[in-house]
Amino acid sequence: MRPFDYTAAQSVSQALAGGGAGTAYLAGGTTLVDLMKLEVMTPRQVVDINRLPLRGVSADRDGLHVGALERMSDVAGHPLVTGGYPVLAQALLRSASPQLRNMASIGGNLLQRVRCGYFRDTSTGCNKRRPGSGCPAVDGENRGHAILGTSDSCVATHPSDLAVALVALDARVRLVGRGGTRDVRLADFYLLPGDTPEREHDLRPGELVTRVTVPALAWATRSAYLKIRDRQSYEFALASAAVALDLRGGVVRDVRVAVGGVGTRPWRLPAVEEALRGRAARPEVFEAAAALAVEAARPLTHNGFKTTLLRRTIVRALTNLVG
């Protein structure tokens, strides 16, 4: 690990004063410490933000608010989450391991880096890690990589399960910087890799994620996260689906569908949702809608199976909800 200066911030303003290019904020550390050991991330300064008052899970007319420093396990078990938004609780509980969920913060989860083996290996090129050095995954080992939103520069899959569920629920993140506070839809927060895969999100240097807000959605009580992976536990998704269903008399009144394990960012599927609205909640309707999910898919040499897997994942997630 490269040397760095360590400070523990006692307040948000103190953290912001120490933030900027070359500085990393440290919360749970499950991404940062790992990548610092690999020398993939080499901050000159690390600001420990764990003492900041960015905690709490609450609900009001605007929806559900989660402090950015809440830990994954605490949010997964919170009654407001398990009761009102099962898709969130399930996405959290199917992530990582219990120890990692006890450590990792909600803000950190949303900012976690990709699991691409080339990104994590400093002896290889990687446009995300070293812009212009090439993407060995395009013609290399790419079984776990994305089929949606890829570019010639980067095909890495966005790893967060929570982000998929939050994008399905139209969540916003609050970003605080020295220049002020802004709220950004999580779906807009994440950037496509394009020619600049090193830019993963709309977080400016020195800004902090302080909280996540999920707009109130009464019918999110009928929601779920289905995650398909090589192992049954403690593994990243090959394909996943976050779905919520407003079902009246066997008809889909409204629906949310977002998918993970397949996109370079959490992937909302408005065309699939549109194909379901107003239709009978029947297998052939689900199958026809799910087919739209992969219309723009660009499979690589080793991940062609994901197009079929993704369609089936969406269909099964919806079918389970009709129950």
Binding site: F4, Y6, G29, D34, S97, P98, Q99
Partner: protein
């Protein structure tokens, strides 16, 4: 070989240790960056400029004050500085669970925890579970159910299992398997580990 590993090997009475000592030494043969040693060991010139961070931690009920290189993990501090070598270094990347300890009562991975961040917190390691000569029910159950072979993952398994029972999620074999998935056993002793946890959680209730 690290001196503290040698000292550990010489402890009498535990036959597995002589086998295990070799494995543990290999595991710690990667460059270690601990207080004091960090300056010589690290390849980068400006290492000396990194300020040491003073921390006060309660480890297994005893207050401890140490100064740590900011890069030092809690795992390395426990093993190299405080000579608590019960906590094992497996992957050192947060993937195997061998380094599991409790911080403020929660099970966490000490290999991904920077020691500087546990200032004023309480740490419990496998050495802190027993009450004198009386083993913790989870330790006793692992012995009775033979929930180990080589034993390298066992401290992490036991710390994780105790944490899980306290979390209230050890109510069925399926739940135990799911909630213990962060602890890998290379000897694949999983069925006996589940048996041990099922026994122990009844006693712990």
């Amino acid at each position: 070989m690290n001196p503290s590993e040698n000292a550990d090997d010489s402890r009498p009475g535990v036959s597995r240790r002589s086998v295990l000592g070799g494995g543990a030494a290999v595991a710690v043969a990667v460059p270690l960056l601990v207080t004091g040693a960090g300056a010589e060991a690290a390849p980068v010139a400006e290492v000396a400029s990194a300020d040491l961070v003073p921390i006060k931690v309660e480890v297994n009920g005893k207050p401890v004050s140490v100064r740590v290189d900011p890069r030092t993990t809690l795992l390395d501090t426990l093993r190299e500085e405080l000579e608590l070598t019960g906590t094992k270094k497996g992957c050192d990347r947060g993937q195997c669970g061998a380094c599991t300890v409790h911080v403020d009562g929660r099970r966490v991975l000490s290999c991904l925890t920077l020691a500087a961040t546990v200032d004023e917190r309480e740490v419990t390691t496998i050495e802190g579970l027993a009450r004198g000569d009386r083993l913790h029910p989870m330790q006793q159950a692992f012995i009775e159910r033979d929930g180990l072979q080589c034993g390298f993952c066992t401290p992490g398994q036991i710390m994780s299992a105790v944490g899980m029972v306290h979390e209230g999620h050890a109510n069925s074999d399926d739940e135990i398997r799911e909630r213990m998935s962060g602890n890998i056993c290379r000897c694949s002793c999983y069925p006996f580990i589940v048996d041990a946890i099922r026994d122990a959680q009844k006693v712990m209730r």
